[in-house]
């Protein structure tokens, strides 16, 4: 067993899992917004990035890590809600490219503002968890206290979102508003509030993701830190199905593992090439996502 755990294959699987849960979380946050408002939010990485700067850097001068995490997530909620109210609401019912362009503009502004305030120099956040790999009978294997923290947090968030949507009345209303806004209104559901809430939750999930990414000793926090992660998260969401939370999470994790092998056995610059290839091939084969049932969209 020990021999297996410290083997190259096991370490790739574990490393891939650690990255994969992050892609899964980004994908999940994209799905939350897509399902509730039909918008692919290109600022889905940048909004949490800003929340992370405010919470972890600005408040980092005064408070410890965990208090800052709470503050950052609250700021993320605020950014999500505010964005939906101010920026996104006028875009409903407009041609598809309008929200795309506006959110790309927002992404640009957010990254520039963050760099203007905090500069582009990477900041490392002090985490309570060590990034150094555990050892088994004297040999390292690809799991550290930090990566455990990352995986456990991601799983907790995913489960929490699932519970919220499956088992609570709020989740019922969120789902109903996305599926049938008019019927929901007739039943007294405050659909506009649900749309705002969808963005709020999504940015909250995104902020937890951004904190995990930025807390990573090897990455640190920069204004562009989420760009690449967003790309992987989008690919996961598109492969798994933008309509399918479970599908996109699974796709994120599987992709994380595959890409870890590619990086290890081929070349780290080949990772994104393979990811693009996966995207293209899977979209050709299953346009609605690998995990969504094959059915034609009802109009």
């Amino acid at each position: 067993m020990d021999v297996f755990l410290t083997s190259r294959i096991a370490s790739d699987v574990l490393g891939g899992l650690t990255n994969g849960v992050i892609y899964g979380l980004v994908a999940l946050s994209l799905v939350l917004v897509w399902r509730s408002t039909g918008i692919l939010n290109f600022a889905q990485g940048a909004m949490p990035m800003l929340a992370t700067y405010v919470g972890m850097v600005t408040f980092g001068h005064y408070f410890g890590y965990w208090i800052c995490v709470v503050i950052a997530v609250l700021v993320g909620f605020l950014i999500g809600a505010g964005t939906e109210r101010v920026l996104v609401r006028p875009l409903y019912g407009k041609p598809e490219i309008n929200p795309v362009v506006v959110m790309v503009g927002f992404l640009t502004v957010l990254e520039a503002v963050a760099a203007a305030i905090w500069s582009s120099t990477p900041r490392s956040l002090t985490t309570p968890f060590s990034p150094i790999d555990f050892h088994l009978s004297g040999k390292p294997f690809a799991l550290s206290a930090f990566s455990l923290y990352q995986i456990i947090t991601a799983v907790v968030v995913m489960v929490a979102v699932a519970v919220l949507f499956r088992f609570t009345n709020l989740g019922l209303q969120l789902r109903a508003s996305a599926l049938a806004p008019e019927v929901s209104r007739l039943l007294g559901v405050r659909v506009n509030r649900m749309l705002t809430l969808g963005w709020t939750l999504s940015t909250g999930v995104g902020t937890i993701t951004a904190i995990l990414v930025a807390s990573n000793f090897f990455t640190g926090l920069t204004p562009q830190v989420m760009d690449g992660i967003f790309a992987f998260g989008f690919i996961a969401a598109a492969v798994g199905g933008l309509d399918s939370p479970v599908g996109s999470i699974v796709a994120g994790i599987v992709m994380g593992i595959i890409l870890q092998f590619v990086g290890d056995y081929v070349n780290s610059n080949a990772i994104i090439l393979v990811a693009l290839a996966i995207l293209i091939v899977s979209l050709m084969a299953r346009p609605n996502g690998v995990f969504s049932p094959v059915k034609t969209r009802r109009v």
Binding site: A176, L179, E182, S184, R185, L186, L187, G188, V189
Partner: protein
Amino acid sequence: MIRVQDLTVAYGAVKALVDVTFEARTSAITAVLGANGAGKTTLLRTISGLKSPVAGSITHDGAELTLMKTEDIARMGIAHVPEGRGVIGEFTVEENLRLGALTAKVDAKQSLASQYERFPILGERRRQHADQLSGGERQILSMARALIANPAVLLLDEPSLGLAPLITAQIMATIKELCASENLTVILVEQNASSALRIADHAVVLNVGHVVANDVASVVAEDEKLRQYYLGMVR
């Protein structure tokens, strides 16, 4: 009681309702009849606030509805079973019902139980997705979902659409029964004039947006001209 006064509604330049005036009394069924495109659906959508009128007023027990949001109108106890039933196919039967019970002030578990008691078929299918139900079952689900919140007003848009005569008769009977037992104000929109008139207390006939008759149901049912020209009923 719902009062509609001089209501005019338009889609762009096209007027779908012109100066419509009528009353729907409590504990009574008011049938709204008319051919395709007469404006029946538009009337119900305007009452529910899904469509805003050009002019006129709609009141429920004296409270003005025209400027209120759909959600708030629904929360006042005005339940609308839309054309095509509006069940959420991706939801299970029970989820559909739970959604209807959200705004109710009553206990959700209890009201679910009472609906299952009233419509046993729904109890049997509670875990099934709503898009697996038959048309009649969907209609029942849709009505149960509207009733679960104990509404004061029930707006029904063509409940008989696509149903076999026997089922239609059953549904009409249920409506009649509910109206009496729950003190409901029912506005029943129907193409199927004869079944509607059989249970209605009052009837309003619309023709291209205009009210052409507004009288006791039995009077409308006996009016040859109305029957022939607007209701398509030939003896």
